[in-house]
Symmetry: C2
Subunit: 213 residues, 2 copies
DNA sequence: AGTTACGGAATGAACATTCATTCATTGCGT
DNA sequence: ACGCAATGAATGAATGTTCATTCCGTAACT
C-alpha cells in the first residue's frame, strides 16, 4: 500500500461532499419538515445538482437516516464525552444541562430535527440503535443516582428521564415558537426547577450544592 | 324565517357528516402526519367519497385547521370548564393534571395531533387565536399562584408553563414511542415531581397538601 | 321534474428518481 | 513533457408516480 492509511477521519473530496449534503439537508429539513421538503431544494442548498445527491444517497429515506445519525451522534458526543456518568452529582447534572443548552443554542437545526416526530417512520434499525446509545447511559446514571440517594427513587428511571427531557424540550420549543424568550438566568431557573423534580428530598446527603453566587 | 333557529348545536345531517370527516381526518393525521397523509385515505376513513369531502372543506389546509380547532377546543373545554383558575391550589393543580391525563388517555389522537410540529405552517389566524385561548388562562393562574406564594415566582409564568407542559408531553411521548409504560402510580409520581418543579418551597403557606392515602 | 348530495374517475401539478450527456481528472504511450 | 483515451463525477431535463383538486354522471330527496 503506497498511501498512508488514515484510520477514521477520511477526508477526501467524496467524504466532504457527503457531509456537505447532510448539513444542507439538515438545514432544509429543520425548516420545512421531512415530508415538506422536496429533494431538489436540498441539492440546491448543498450547491450540487440533484443527480449528484443521488450519487451519494440511494434515496431520500437513506438521506434522512444519514442526517438523523449525524445529528444524533453529535448530540451524544457533546452530551457524554469525557463525562463520568457513573458518579452522579448535582454538579454533573448542571454540567449535563449546560451541554444540552449549548447544543440547543449552537446547533438549533440539529436539536429541532431530532425532536421532530415525523422521522420515526423513516428510521432504519441502525438509527434506532443510536437512540438507545444515548438513552442507556443516561438511564444508568439515573439508576446510580437513585441508589446513592442523590435522586428520588420513586420514579422509574425511564420516567425521570422522559420528564426531564420533555421539560427541556418544552422550554426550547416555546422559545422557537415565539411564546418565550430565554436569557441565561431563565435557563438556570429552569435547570434548578428540573433538579427539584428529580432530586431526592427525603434525607440529607453529602453532595455539594454548587457554588454560591 | 320559518325554521326554528337552533342556537349553537345544529344537528342536521350536514353537520354530522362535517364532524365525521373531522374525526376521520384526526385519526389518519395522527397516524401518518400532515404532509404524510393524502386526502383520499381521509375520505375513505370517513366513509365518503373524495368529492364529498371537498363539498365540506375547501382544501386540505382548511380541513387541517378545522381538525386543529376541533381538537384544541375539546382540550380547552376538558381542561378548563367549571374550573376556578383564579384560586390556584395544590388540589387545583392535581385536578388539572387529572384532566390532562384523561384527555391524553381518552383522546390520544387529538393529544398527539396537537403536539405535532408540522401544522404550525398551516394554521390560520383563527387557529392561532385558539392557542392563546388556552395559554392565557393558564398564564393567569400561574401569576396568581405566584402572587399568593403558592408557586415559586422565580420563573416567569410562561417559562413555568412551558416546563410543566413539556414534561407532561415528554412523558406521554415516551409512552407512545414505546420507551415506557405508564400505570396510574407512575402518573401520580410524575405529577408530584412536576409540582415540586414549580411550587414555592421558601415559606410555608396555608394550602392543603391533598388527602393522605 | 327539479334540485341537491354524492362518489370516484379524470386532471394537472408537484414530486422522487433516472439517465443521457457534459465535464474534469487520471493514466499511459510516445 | 505532451497528447489523448479512458474513467468516473456531475448535471438537470426527462420519466413515471403520487398527490390535491375538479367534474360529471348517478342517486336521493322534495
Amino acid at each position: 500500500m503506497a498511501s498512508p492509511a488514515p484510520v477514521t477521519p477520511v477526508d477526501n473530496k467524496e467524504t466532504r461532499k457527503h457531509e456537505q449534503i447532510i448539513r444542507a439537508a439538515l438545514r432544509v429539513f429543520a425548516e420545512h419538515g421531512l415530508h415538506g421538503t422536496p429533494v431538489p431544494p436540498i441539492a440546491a442548498e448543498a450547491g450540487v445538482g440533484v443527480g449528484t445527491l443521488y450519487r451519494y444517497f440511494d434515496s431520500k429515506e437513506t438521506l434522512i437516516n444519514a442526517v438523523f445519525r449525524d445529528s444524533k451522534s453529535r448530540l451524544k458526543e457533546r452530551l457524554l464525552s469525557d463525562l463520568d456518568l457513573l458518579h452522579p452529582s448535582r454538579s454533573l447534572f448542571d454540567n449535563l444541562w449546560a451541554r444540552l443548552t449549548a447544543f440547543a443554542r449552537e446547533e438549533p437545526d440539529a436539536f429541532h430535527f431530532l425532536e421532530m416526530q415525523d422521522h420515526h417512520s423513516y428510521l432504519d434499525p441502525e438509527s434506532r440503535h443510536q437512540e438507545q446509545a444515548l438513552l442507556i447511559p443516561l438511564g444508568m446514571m439515573v439508576v446510580i443516582g437513585q441508589r446513592t440517594g442523590l435522586l428520588n427513587d420513586i420514579m422509574k428511571p425511564d420516567l425521570a428521564i422522559a420528564l426531564f427531557w420533555g421539560a427541556f424540550v418544552g422550554v426550547f420549543k416555546a422559545e422557537r415558537l415565539g411564546y418565550l424568550t430565554l436569557d441565561d438566568d431563565d435557563l438556570k431557573r429552569a435547570r434548578d426547577a428540573c433538579w427539584l423534580a428529580i432530586a431526592n428530598h427525603n434525607t440529607p446527603h453529602d453532595n455539594n450544592k454548587g457554588p454560591q453566587p
